[in-house]
């Protein structure tokens, strides 16, 4: 009976703590419990020496990637040569990673089938995180728009004695005529009202 190999040791470097947590969760759920997460590359050489990672996952936009790669080449702390991905011919996987903003380094000599699930997990979690961030941004801007429209309606109701429904209809008609968003019209109206308002006492 052959012994089950120890799960690979993984180091996650991400300045974005939330995203790092999302990736960590995914890997833990998949049974990778030898995980180290760092948010800062200060002292990273020692960390690498201590944890001897088989795989390092770092966000592609991290300005310290050159520093990390230099360490693989020169530092005495990192003994083993590490290269991005196991198999350079796996172009699709490399493209997916770069698209997602993930960069991964793998100890030379590791088998592709042991590393691929980790890289794939990191890619899918990066993509999920980007989608979440986008949705959050959309929700935030929708909320902003609704507030603006409410204020603009209030101004029209107070200054022109309109009903709420009429005020909204006017904003909507103006937006359609000018081919702009209702929230843009509302914003212009609020600005204009601010300029035209009688000076406060």
């Amino acid at each position: 009976m052959s012994e089950r190999p120890l799960p690979l040791s993984i180091l996650i470097i991400d300045e974005n703590r939330l995203r790092a947590a999302v990736i960590e969760d995914g890997l833990r759920d998949a049974g990778y419990d030898r995980l180290t997460v760092v948010h800062d590359v200060v002292g990273i050489a020692r960390k690498i020496a201590e944890t001897a990672p088989d795989v390092i996952v770092i966000d592609l936009e991290n300005p310290n990637r050159d520093v990390l790669e230099s360490m693989f080449q020169l530092s005495r702390a990192v003994q083993r040569p590490i290269a991005m991905f196991v198999d350079r011919s796996d172009q699709a996987s490399i493209e997916a990673a770069v698209e997602a903003g993930v960069s991964a380094y793998v100890v030379d000599g590791l088998k592709r089938e042991r590393v691929k699930p980790i890289v794939d997990m990191a890619i899918s979690r990066f993509n999920a995180f980007a989608r979440m961030a986008r949705e959050l941004e959309e929700a935030r801007s929708q909320l902003e728009s609704r507030k603006l429209i409410d204020r603009a309606k209030g101004i029209l109701m107070a200054t022109r004695g309109m009903s709420e429904a009429d005020a909204y209809a006017l904003l909507r008609k103006t937006a359609m005529n000018q081919n702009r968003k209702i929230s843009d019209i509302a914003e212009s109206l609020i600005t204009a009202a601010g300029l035209l308002a009688p000076p406060e006492e």
Binding site: P63, V67, S70, Q91, I94, E95
Partner: protein, 407 residues
């Protein structure tokens, strides 16, 4: 213009991205039918990766990077060629105020003289070793960079062994001045405006500059994905013509004000206009309120500054061997030599009728004064290009040069 070419280029926020930026912003690319998109990146590794997967067809690169990629020394390396350089010079070596004070005690002067500064540093290092068990730490931007090699060249020529007397570490350019202020490092070699950043903030003193260590020294190049260049020769030719015209514009002193404004903008370097003007004019604020003007500090156009000399490629290769990054082998030398493509430069620029060097390589360091040289078309002047220690690099005697440097 008939055909239109879409080209995406990656760049790093450095003064020597100027030629690419001017090609886009001043319409030189458009005039050649090139729709040029520039994408600012955060690391050289990211530029390399995005070129490998085809996001970028071309990129602003450290000159040794494409050579290292073709030699298989970097991860995810796709074959890259160099059909044009992006200027000469532009770097400086800056030290902390404390180290500068020690160097001044031992004869360093505020004239950026590399010999005097190096001798002073050597004595300062000896003094430092008496009071501390930690080595002085100098930062460069990348192992395969002109910065790494010129720092090491300067130290070695001044009797300082780079791998024993000090420690060399790596820091991204925009973070250098902060690392110096935080005392994480004692000195660094970087491209502008990141030495000016330390000098104006009062956290460091410029000790010497690239142009004083080796005048007219190569620095950044345009790395081009070899596969793309083969598929789209027309697009590459158009881009090279646009970059040549852009370099010409960048080289004219009367344009420096406008160029500094453009580079200082939020999509490019996003730092004060005044910082850009320092490197463009060569009059650096070197620290302690002093300024010093260096002739040929950054040369975007004159002296055939965009020509991809094979002797430059071979010199970088000789330094890779010198510092143990690659084995000395004739096959490796051939890969370095073939990375640079002066043939593509000439064929693209021929229709412009401008002065083009007739040779592919030259003896580096041989010209002590500006010298007219044989060229196709109009006249061309090269040099001076001396090394501060008086050495010569003859690409035909590559092995002898490598052997000499082992001593």
């Amino acid at each position: 213009m008939g055909k239109s070419y879409e080209i995406v280029a990656g760049f790093m926020p450095l003064l020597d991205s100027a030629i690419l930026v001017a090609a886009k912003e001043k319409g030189f690319a458009q005039a050649e039918g090139v729709d040029l998109t520039l994408v600012r990146e955060t690391s050289w590794a990211s530029i390399r990766d995005r070129m490998a997967v085809g996001h970028f067809q071309v990129a602003h690169q450290l000159a040794p990077m494409p050579i290292a990629a073709n030699l298989g020394l970097t991860p995810l390396a796709a074959k890259t060629i160099v059909p044009i350089a992006l200027g000469l010079g532009g770097n400086a070596i800056t030290v902390s105020n404390a180290l500068w004070a020690a160097m001044v005690e031992h004869g360093a002067r505020s004239d950026l003289d590399p010999g005097a500064a190096g001798r002073a540093l050597r004595t300062a290092i000896t003094g430092h070793a008496k009071s501390s068990s930690e080595l002085l730490r100098f930062a460069v931007v990348h192992p395969f960079s002109g910065h790494n090699y010129e720092l090491r060249y300067w130290l070695a020529a001044c009797g300082i062994e780079p791998d024993r007397a000090i420690e060399i570490v790596f820091v991204p350019p925009p973070l250098m001045a902060d690392a110096l202020a935080a005392r994480t490092i004692d000195g660094y070699c970087v491209g502008e405006p990141w030495s000016t950043a330390a000098a104006v903030a009062g956290v460091g003193h410029i000790a010497t500059v690239k142009a004083a260590i080796w005048r007219s020294r190569p620095e950044k190049v345009l790395g081009v994905a070899a596969a793309w260049a083969e598929q789209e020769p027309g697009a590459l030719d158009a881009l090279l013509r646009a970059l040549y015209r852009a370099a010409q514009w960048c080289g004219a002193a009367e344009n420096h004000g406008e160029l500094a404004e453009i580079l200082a903008g939020p999509s490019y370097i996003a730092r004060p206009v005044e910082w850009m003007l320092r490197g463009l004019s060569g009059t650096l604020a070197i620290g302690g309120g002093a300024t010093h003007r260096t002739e040929d500090f950054f040369v975007p156009f004159a002296k055939a500054a965009t020509f991809p000399w094979k002797s430059h490629a071979l010199w970088f290769y000789s330094q890779m061997v010198r510092w143990g990054q690659v084995a000395s082998a004739s096959g490796n030398a051939a890969i370095a030599r073939e990375t640079y493509r002066p043939d593509l430069y000439r064929s693209a620029l021929k229709p412009l009728g401008v002065a083009l060097p007739a040779a592919n390589a030259k003896v580096e360091g041989a010209l002590l004064a500006p010298t007219p040289v044989g060229s196709a078309g109009a006249s061309l002047t090269l040099g001076p290009d001396g090394f501060f220690d008086g050495a010569l690099f003859d690409p035909d005697r590559l092995d002898a040069y490598i052997e000499d440097q082992r001593r």
